[in-house]
Amino acid sequence: MESLLKKLVKAAKKGDQHAFEGLVELYKDRIYRLAFRMIGDRHEAEDLAQEAFVKAYMNLDKYDDTYAFSTWLYRIATNLCIDRLRKKKPDYSMDAPLSTSDGGTLYQQIPHSEEALETVVEKREERATLQEEISKLPEKYRTAIILKYIEDLSLEEMSAIMELPVPTVKTRIHRGRELLKKVYKKVMKSR
């Protein structure tokens, strides 16, 4: 039996926008999250994630099902994010303050009592710091850390998205982890 996903992809390829809408619904959270964690800014992330879907739609005829549809989408989104980061580089320095707004939903941030408020604020700061540190990683390590730990993808999926052999993907995860560890250590000590 053909899966719903395959049906949607097939119909979307034929130009059925309702089917494509279904695909956007299925993957919007993952693609937006990837863009937000890569870029660190909500509005830019939203623009990029939307651009990724529009680009996917325009190139549906090029999608072949050797790869999972999600892998193909992730690849489009990752490349768009990297392009954006490269374009941004000249006007930002490592010292420049990065956006610290975090992407938790409003509901998640509503404290249930006065006491809880402190914890919520503390947690939000922690998350913002970690996001900031991830944003400082060179893009190749940042991509590896986000795909591995936030998107929870396998090395094989990462290899297909990053268009790199598995051993290179592994090296990038290790290097990214090492770099992040150094700053994480400082953050933990300062508490």
């Binding site: 119909a11 059925d16 926008q17 919007k28 937006y32 939203e46 975090d102 970690l130 730990y149 982890r177």
Partner: protein, 80 residues
Amino acid sequence: MSCEHEQLLQKALDGELSIREQEAFTAHLQQCKACKAEYELVEHMIVDVKKLADISAPLGFTANVMRQLPAGHKKKSPIR
């Protein structure tokens, strides 16, 4: 941290230790406070990084994408 232990630590973090290596690594962690602290720190960091996954696309996201699709492609075919 010696090179051998560094390799074991990376493998442990990747979840790729063989049973024998796992035993050696566990035994080493019991003796070496530095390695133990290092391992626990990275594990803790990974848990924290994973928590950054709990965000969702903003409201109206899908509708905004659909609005940007080219009009020429608006052909519809019934889903069978």
